[in-house]
Amino acid sequence: MPDPVDAPVDDRMSESDGTDLAGPGPSVGVAALAELRRSRQMRRRAQVNRSDALYQAYVTAFISSVIVLYLSTVVGDEPISASGLERVVRDGPGVIGLFFAFALAIGLRSGARGGPVAVEPAEVRFVLLAPVARRRVLIGPALKQLRFAVFAAAVAGAAAGLLAHRRLGQTALGWIAAGAGVGVLLAVALLGAALIANGLRVRQWLATVVAGALLAWAIADLAGEVTAPTSVAGRLAFTPIEFEAFDLLAVGVVVAMLGAGLLLLGRGSLEAAERRTVLVGQLRFAATLQDLRTVILLRRQLAQELPRQRPWLRIPGRGRFVLWRRGWHGLVRFPLARLGRVVLLTAGATAAVLGTVHGTKPLVVVAGFVAYVLGLDLVEPLAQEVDHDERAERLPVETGLLLARHLPASAVAAVLCGALGAAGGLAVEGTEGRTIVVAVVLALSSSLGGLAGAVVSTVQGAPSASTTPSTTDQALPPEVAGMRIVVRAVWPVAVAVIGSFPAYLVADAIAKGREPLPAALQGAMLASLFIAGTAAWVRFREPARAWFRQAVEDSKANARQRQVETSPTARRTR
């Protein structure tokens, strides 16, 4: 319906140039909008504590310097050999091109979901529904976002250029300029793609298909099969070594994309914009708290991944195991997009496990992380209970027992994913007898380990944004409390990585010429200890915490009692 796609021509014109208004002239509203923004900005500036702002800038600069220094130690400073340089020139553009493909893919998907601009909910209600041309309303926030993205990308690109100079020679200035330029181009490509997708109201499925095609093209280019247009942009990164004027075409295309995106600004869907306004704020807050589960949950909401009205399968309505059936009622309502993601994540985890087994051992972390993200999808029944804890508290069932009874449905779903992964792995590796057993052990361990990590993350809940320490934190020394926060963030992923650890041991055994099966079983034993421990933790967490709280209270009461007994007044009374 609304403007401008389906609107009559006169409406579309009036949206774009602000003429033919039934209400006030466009300049009236625009002037009021400008004044509103000016006064709010002045108020915000007045509220900024300068010393706080300077401290934040200092911390950002310090952390950035540490990262650059660390990366420089990783990259090293020995000049690369001639053959190495040749390889960099050959494969480098493809690698940078893959970054461009990623940027375009992210931009397309963001735009299809109402991005990249996110305004306040009140701005949607009062300004975007006012008779003011929407492009004029959104151009300010869009340019602000562009400015920040360009600055950040330029700094990151320049740092990367500096690191490249240490190994690849040539002039430092040339590499810094090339790095900064490519960084800016990446940021502009991302935002331009997002603005175009938004302005043209590209459907989410179409954005995903185009993004997938771009990524596949860039990967095929990297494999040397074809030439992707993104690698033309990638060649710009190597300008200090080799420059072709033709490559500047990429700059023209990216700038044209941004221009087209800005021209289309304001033609996007207000429904998506309003949905985005609410969720993006929460998303940023969750990201600030390193709360990955909430980030994923909000991204699902942003993509409008709603449970299906009608389940894929009917679960029998009778029987004793209420929570088991409740779990499956949720799982069989997964929308198609979510099922697709589960399959993709299973494939990703399988590929990472295979990569680990074939000797790229660091991929074990990737396998664990992907299995963890997969687990966050499969843990849905438990997550629903945790997210509505006020309901659980009213039930005449101990919370730990209630939560633990949600686990079997998710575990069976994880086993099914593991079976799928094992089948995929065997399709690649062949179906020799022992290979089948190893594949099954690795797949089950990885999928159940990922689920265990997700269970930990879900049950422990989002980190508290409160500055008031909890009872547990109060009882701990500050150093230990700090460590606790770090462990809390890292532990779920660590449990998931332990689930994939058998793949590492198998790789080690193969490298040393030993049988892989005992190594796989050994690793699976270790993983199963953690998986079972997680289930026990879910079951007995509440009683254990209650016991700990009681112990702290008793200890405080005893201390107070001793203080009273040893005080001079008490002694005199005695």
Binding site: P8, G25, L129, L270
Partner: protein
């Protein structure tokens, strides 16, 4: 940005609403011409009486639908609202009332069908100039007072002498003394009153109202009813979605939805309201 000092916050009569733009815009000829009345058969003895002039259709909804995946929130719905007409929109929770209002306001994209306001596609710039939407969930800027909100909304809609009107509105709703406070920190009822003031500070030809009585005290309800009457008398079309059955008697026409489908559209007189919302 402060309310004028020395003014009484007691308002004896409802404030005068800014004149609706619909009248001017309709006269400018952007709206399609009305269908001519069917000519009466010729008579030999007496000349035919002049055909009665129908009020122009202000809101036109044609086969409007909304689907969320496999959930149908609104089945194809067709509706006409004349200029100056007041209708009440009834239905149980989840019947599609809010969805319909949000689509007419331009906040939701329909899955099918069209809606036009004064001849313009809903959500288009001219339509936004003439539709005022009072949502069931009041939304405010965190850092603006009620008075500053009123200034922003009034000026975005080109209301020049908004101060007097704002003071009158706030006085009428009984929140004049809270004009400098942040509405984002208000209670539900006060937020609703602030939202009502914002819906009425600007000119409109069509007022869409979703559950306006929620959280309002008796004085607030009375004040809102008076504002509705004033807007109606001023020629604006009103579409009010509510569960407040007492409101039904105040309007001429009742539209009822059930499970996203239109089940009734007719005069309120003699309607079994309870049957419609059950």
């Amino acid at each position: 940005m402060n309310p004028p000092k020395g003014r009484s916050n007691r308002h004896p009569t409802p404030p005068k609403r800014a004149s609706a733009p619909s009248r001017g815009s309709a006269a400018r000829g952007t709206r399609p011409p009305d269908r001519p009345a069917k000519p009466a058969p010729a008579r030999a003895e007496a000349p035919a009486p002049p055909a009665p002039t129908l009020p122009p259709t202000y809101l036109t909804v044609d086969s409007l639908t909304k689907e969320y995946g496999d959930l149908i929130a609104l089945s194809p719905l067709t509706l006409r609202v004349e200029q100056g007409e007041a209708i009440v929109l009834l239905g149980h929770n989840g019947s599609g009332k809010t969805t319909l209002l949000r689509m007419i306001a331009g906040l939701l994209e329909p899955s099918g069908g069209t809606s036009t306001v004064d001849g313009h596609a809903a959500g288009s710039l001219p339509s936004r100039a003439t539709v005022s939407y009072l949502s069931d969930t009041p939304t405010f800027y965190d850092d603006l007072s009620v008075w500053e909100h009123l200034e922003v909304v009034a000026r975005l809609h080109g209301v020049a002498d908004w101060q007097q009107q704002a003071a009158d509105l706030l006085g009428h709703l009984g929140i004049y003394e809270r004009a400098d406070d942040l509405p984002s920190r208000f209670s539900r009822g006060l937020r609703q009153k602030a939202a009502i003031a914002l819906a009425f500070i600007r000119p409109f030809g069509l007022l869409l109202v979703d559950e306006p009585f929620v959280g309002l005290d008796a004085v607030g309800k009375q004040a809102l009813l008076e504002l509705f009457d004033l807007a109606h008398a001023d020629g604006a079309a009103l579409v009010v979605a509510t569960h407040e059955l007492a409101f039904v008697d105040r309007v001429e026409r009742c539209v009822a939805l059930r499970d996203g489908r239109l089940i009734h559209d007719g005069p309120t007189a003699g309607v079994d309201v309870l049957a419609l919302v059950s």
